[in-house]
């Protein structure tokens, strides 16, 4: 099956819809015109640039270029995780814990999926590695960001409860138990909901894209199942690590609650 390429001027037609929406918002004083236009512009520029980068990357396919790309993606995701926390750890801790958790979980799961499940040759072949890692990081970022945000916010709000539990001789893990469960639930909920609704309420974007690009639906479905499973695993392990490390950092070696290590961003 031949893929129908899109001419740039046809994308312009889609852009007209956004302009129409922006005009409606402007005249009806709905106050979202500016952010809508900026976001639409960003999406065009960012995707066009990444298209160029991917073209170059696919052409060279050298390991160090793939690795460099992966590193850049990780650092941007790490920054985004920090930005999503309304209260975060002071200094480099917020960035290090978020990025570390994403690195360990996303990279491990992606490499495992590439080498064992998909098996392209070479295993880091950018056509498979970059999109897979991108989806992993995107979802892990959401999970880790939500989990850490909920963790820090709950600890801040429930400091009196935590300290009272410490006063009764509980360990810091026991004193944090409910809050950790809560933070894990926040981090995992998007992935669990996505898996529950997949195929019935929503057709996942990757599968839709693959079918549009000419893959037989049976192949697209298998890839989609693989991606959803590894994404959930990656998000889950990432959240577990982030919650564990983040919680630990808010207590010192005498198991005292140290809210002075949190700042409001």
């Amino acid at each position: 099956m031949e893929v129908i390429d899109l001419a740039w001027w046809k994308l312009g037609l889609a852009a007209l819809l956004i302009l129409a929406l922006a005009a409606t918002g402007y005249f009806a004083r709905l106050g979202m015109t500016r952010s809508l236009l900026i976001a639409a512009l960003r999406t065009v520029i960012q995707l066009a640039l990444i298209g160029l980068v991917l073209e170059a990357l696919f052409a060279s396919a050298a390991f160090y270029w793939v690795a460099l790309m992966a590193l850049a993606m990780l650092l941007v995701a790490g920054r985004e995780v920090v930005a999503r926390q309304s209260r975060r750890l002071r200094g480099w801790w917020a960035f290090s814990i978020g990025t570390g958790a994403m690195f360990v979980s996303s990279f491990t799961v992606t490499i495992l999926a590439l080498t064992v499940v998909i098996g392209p040759d070479p295993w880091y072949s950018p056509q498979y590695a970059i999109p897979l890692l991108g989806m992993m990081l995107g979802n892990t970022m959401t999970g880790v960001g939500l989990a850490l945000d909920r963790l820090n916010e709950s600890i801040w709000r429930q400091r009196a409860v935590i300290e009272n539990r410490l006063m009764l001789g509980q360990t810091w893990q026991q004193a944090l138990q409910d809050i950790r469960m809560d933070a894990m639930r926040s981090g995992m909920m998007p992935s669990i909901n996505a898996m529950a609704a997949a195929g019935i309420v929503s057709l996942p974007g990757m599968m839709t894209g693959q079918i549009l690009a000419g893959s037989p639906p049976a192949v697209a479905v298998k890839y989609q199942i693989l991606v959803m499973l590894v994404i959930t695993a990656g998000t889950g392990f990432g959240s577990v690590m982030a919650v564990k490390w983040g919680g630990r950092r808010l207590f010192d070696d005498r198991e005292r609650l140290r809210l002075d290590r949190l700042v409001k961003s």
Binding site: Q158, L166, M167, L168, G169, Q170
Partner: protein
């Protein structure tokens, strides 16, 4: 080990004279040169069964002093219990032996019973004025005074060797206050618990204290030593 520890303890105590000379195993809460917040060089020795009251204007650091003894706040100086240094045991084990009851107790489960060990409901002391089914009550049903009384029982149920009470009767009426005071004193004497008790009411201090200290600037000032 005992040969070394016991004479050292007895020496420490004879200087401050709260223990009878015949006692061998003593619960002593020792504060040496403790400094936290604006307070500095606080030294106290409370033996088992004794109540030391602390008073002073609000914000003067009484609660922070209790928190430092419970090791909930970074502090200078040394604290020890029966010869065990605070810093030599894991913090949660220390807090199981030296239990603090804060001025506003916290409840995190839906039901009262979830906060207590399983058999505690049956052993609920009558002085607290609850029926045995209180363990099945939702926490939201408790008044602040009821929470305060249950928090005291929750702390005592841990069999602590020292208690740090931050205004334990602040939300109680006069009659209940006196009932709770005498129940607490009886438990303290019977179990030989060393107690630091933050209080405002001079009548209460007179009734419960073996010694009374007031926070004066950066130090503790003795109002009366022993009786």
């Amino acid at each position: 080990m005992w040969l070394v520890v016991v004479p050292a303890l007895c020496n420490g105590i004879t200087l401050i004279t709260f223990a009878s000379p015949g006692d061998t195993i003593l619960t002593d809460l020792l504060l040496e040169n403790l400094s936290v917040g604006t307070l500095s060089h606080v030294s106290l020795a409370v033996s088992g069964g004794q109540v030391f009251c602390l008073s002073g204007p609000s914000g003067c650091g009484k609660s922070r002093l209790l928190r430092a003894v419970a090791d909930l706040e970074p502090h200078g100086g040394r604290v020890s219990l029966s010869g065990t240094d605070q810093q030599n045991v894991p913090a949660h084990q220390w807090r199981r032996r030296v239990v603090m009851v804060p001025a506003d107790s916290q409840w995190w489960f839906d039901e009262v019973g979830g906060h207590f060990p399983a058999d505690t409901g049956a052993r609920l002391p009558s002085a607290l004025g609850f029926s045995a089914d209180v363990m099945g009550w939702p926490v939201s049903r408790l008044s602040s005074g009821e929470r305060q009384r249950l928090a005291l029982w929750r702390a005592l149920a841990l069999q602590p060797e020292a208690l740090l009470l931050d205004e334990p009767t602040a939300n109680l009426d006069t009659t209940t206050t006196e009932i709770i005071e005498s129940w607490l004193l009886e438990e303290i004497r019977r179990r030989q618990i060393a107690v630091l008790w933050v209080a405002h009411d001079s009548g209460q201090i007179h009734r419960v204290a073996n010694a009374h200290y007031r926070v004066h600037g950066t130090e503790l000032e003795v109002i009366h030593g022993s009786d």
